[in-house]
């Protein structure tokens, strides 16, 4: 049988794609916002950097790897928080955590005053920065608190795009978001493969087995099991559109992190041996999507 040749338009569209994954955090934020509306807050020229890295012989970065931007997206006042995976694995230290928590708190104050600011988090992060261990951990707890307070007013959207993925305390943050969007390249999980291998042994998890890693935490598999609400192509415009559509869906009546009874029942019924059916998880989580 002859396969039909790919439609020339499909091919052209694919070539015309503007990759989101390949952009750095700042360019990702800029690409999402309506042209000309990007305003970075506490940018690199403010030079607020980690006081903890230089004494350990690590060069600090003048934005600490976290970009806070305001602008407009799909007509709404937007707050974009983008974590730079290329700096220290997107890890969250004191300054990055304070930037994120403070930006969410400022958005909350505006919302409480009747001015809705719509937040999106671009999560490219391995979690707490171990060089700032306990301040990172405390900062992540403060991000969780701020996110939950803001979530009562506006839908908070997370985007897990690629390269590093989203792990550790920031994966918990993704779990607290109203809507989670991912690309196929994105990965979402609590413990990174290396850490599971270190803590539980090679038999539990072989971190070098890439296929295994993606089958557990990859975007497509997370979408199948409902931990991700929508899968998008690695293309800036469709990602921006999907964020706008998630905001338009509003604050969910029940968030994923509130699906307690069905998830508790599912986990108990499966136990350590039962065969995991992604559809069953997705159903327990309310089978959500962003139409």
């Amino acid at each position: 049988m002859n396969e039909p040749l790919p439609d020339e338009n499909v091919h052209r569209r694919w070539l015309a794609r503007a990759s989101f994954v390949e952009l750095n955090a700042r360019d990702r934020a800029r690409a999402l916002l309506d042209p000309g509306t990007f305003r970075e807050l506490l940018g690199p020229f403010d030079r607020v950097r980690s006081p903890w890295l230089p004494p350990q012989g690590i060069v600090a970065q003048s934005d600490d790897g976290t970009v806070i931007a305001r602008g407009r997206l799909a007509g709404s006042a937007a707050l974009v928080i983008a974590i730079e995976g290329a700096f220290q694995g997107g890890s969250i230290g004191e300054v990055g955590a304070a930037k994120i928590a403070a930006a969410l708190d400022l958005a909350l104050t505006d919302c409480q005053r009747g001015r809705l600011i719509y937040p999106v988090l671009i999560l490219e992060t391995g979690g707490v920065r171990l060089q700032e261990a306990n301040l990172g951990l405390a900062g992540v707890a403060e991000i969780h608190a701020a996110l939950l307070a803001l979530r009562a007013h506006v839908p908070v959207v997370a985007v897990v795009a690629g390269l590093i993925g989203c792990f550790g305390g920031m994966a918990i943050a993704a779990g607290l978001c109203s809507w989670v969007i991912a690309t196929r390249q994105g990965r979402l999980g609590l413990n990174g493969p290396e850490v599971i291998e270190e803590e539980a042994g090679l038999a539990e998890f072989d971190a070098r087995d890439r296929q295994l890693v993606w089958s557990v935490t990859g975007g497509a598999s997370r979408r199948a099991s409902g931990f991700v609400d929508e899968l998008v192509e690695d293309d800036c415009e469709p990602i921006a559109k999907m964020i706008g559509r998630a905001w338009a869906r509003g604050v969910p009546r029940i968030h994923a992190s509130e699906r307690v009874a069905p998830m508790q029942h599912l986990v108990a019924s499966l136990g350590a041996q039962g065969i995991i059916d992604p559809n069953a998880i997705r159903t327990a989580l309310g089978d959500r999507s962003i139409p």
Partner: protein
Amino acid sequence: MSEPSAVDLGAASRGRAWLEGLAGTSAIGAHSVLTADGTLEGECVRYFTVGPDPAARFPRARRGEIGLAEGWGLAALLRATLGEDANRSPRPLIAIVDSPGQAYGRREEQLGIHLACAAAVNAYAAARMRGHPVIALVVGRAMSGGFLAHGAQANRILALDDPGVMIHAMGKKSAARVTRRSVEELTELARQSVPMAYDVQAYAQLGILHGLIGGVSAAEPGEPDFARVRSALAEAIADTRRGPSDLSPRWRSAVAQQTRRATWEVRRLLAEQWDALPANL
């Protein structure tokens, strides 16, 4: 200081000992997630802890880790308590923490342990935002994602001043692997850098703790220890009721104003620039 050794599978739970001693009653719950009701200065309070369960269904969560059953289980118990108090004054909730961290396993990841932890974070934060004074009492280890899920959302965190008490982002071996250092190098750095330190006295220098309780036996507590900690809990509850329901006291504390100067700088500059944005953004 050396890292406390792993909990013996057969060992009695330190969290359970403190829960039952403080409440003066037996714990409710057959598995790892335990509760008990008690009184503090005449007021009803509810205690929660997660302890080892050698027979737990998930083998990676048998030593007191926060696993799938623990995250969703804590959320269920906390939400049931919120429901009971919906039409009356919200009870203080006390999280007794002794956990080596989150459960590490393939199956845990497949079943979304990040969301199980988020469910517990969400339930604790919901309690706090609804006016329940939430106090965390660290009696042993408070590690990583386990602490985020069980303890870190409290209005006030108290810890026992004891060599077996440790609050940290990651165990030494894993932290060394992730940061590409040897355990020896990491130990040396932890001596020089306050946020990396593994002992609770260094942790207290960050300003995040409401109090460090000295002069008690963390491992083998008796009635005088319980009495002392009960009065510290009552004080923390009263202090919570005088303050905001968010976590700002952690970075506003007098100690944090010294250690977390960068946090203050970020918050000041960000607010200034936010307020200066044009109105059409």
